[in-house]
């Protein structure tokens, strides 16, 4: 799996907010996503397209509206990837601790 697009898509505060909002309240229409924010409909659409490009969200048409939701599978992949994040410094710290405390 290439996680780079996921990280790139999440490396933006507005997109993180969109993902968080969809996690909590999704699925949501664009109008619902723009409610209570200062972001334009056009702006939200641009960010949603970026998130969709990374496979993090998907949409379906319902009547005249497009409804957006989180793509669970992709987030789970990112989660697995993120599980590795702490490993190297933590391992180095374990070695340092063993070195200075057992000496």
């Amino acid at each position: 799996m290439n996680a780079a697009p996921v990280f790139a898509a999440l490396g933006d505060e507005t997109r993180l907010q969109i993902v968080a909002r969809l996690c909590k309240h999704g699925p949501l229409s664009i109008s619902r996503l723009t409610d209570g924010t200062s972001i334009s409909r056009q702006g939200i659409t641009k960010h949603l397209d970026a998130l969709a490009g990374a496979g993090l969200v998907r949409s379906k048409r319902e009547g005249r509206e497009r409804i957006w939701n989180i793509e669970t599978k992709r987030l789970a992949e990112a989660r697995r990837y993120l599980d590795h994040v702490s490993a190297q410094w933590d391992a180095a710290i374990d070695r340092l601790r063993a070195f200075v405390e057992d000496d």
């Binding site: 909590k24 669970t72 993120l82 340092l96």
Partner: protein, 162 residues
């Protein structure tokens, strides 16, 4: 969110005297013993030295396929008993990539006295200027920056599937 992606920080208290921890992090030979790296020079501010991955004295496992792999270190600051910092290329473990022209991250070790021993703060910063394709690998090998993001993803993944 900028800082969340730019740096990683670890804070721990080591049950060892301040002076002992200072030697372990600021002397190239001692650093190499626990980290598992052999340097071709001493830690002196401004020095550009190389280190080759080797077995750590406190780790029974050899470094495996990365044994002998060379890293460039640029020593930045040394304030005795308090601060040691260097720059390196994070997770520069792909033999087919020349990392030398890319930006480095700054790793800082800071010490202070604490109840029960010595408080060590390790900060690695500068990930925002690392090329994206490297950053993914760097974040895989280094930690902390994604804590905020992980938090809501974890919350979401704890929900029953839709």
């Amino acid at each position: 969110m900028t800082t969340a992606t730019d740096q990683i920080q670890k804070i721990i208290v080591l049950n060892a005297p301040h002076e002992r921890v200072w030697r372990a992090i600021s002397d190239a030979t001692q650093f190499g013993k626990w980290f598992g790296i052999r340097f071709d020079g001493a830690f002196v501010p401004g020095a550009a030295i190389a280190g080759k991955l080797t077995r750590s004295v406190v780790d029974p496992d050899p470094p495996g396929k990365y044994e002998g792999f060379a890293f460039d270190f640029k020593i930045e600051h040394i304030e005795p008993m308090r601060l040691f910092s260097y720059r390196w290329h994070p997770c520069a473990l792909d033999p087919n990539v020349d990392y030398s022209s890319e930006p480095m991250t700054l790793v800082t070790f800071e010490l202070e006295d604490a109840a029960g021993g010595t408080k060590l703060t390790i900060t690695e910063s500068g990930f925002d200027s690392i090329p994206l394709e490297r950053r993914v690998a760097a974040f895989q090998a280094n930690s902390g920056g994604w804590t905020d993001q992980v938090e809501f993803i974890e919350k979401y993944l704890a929900l029953p599937p839709a």
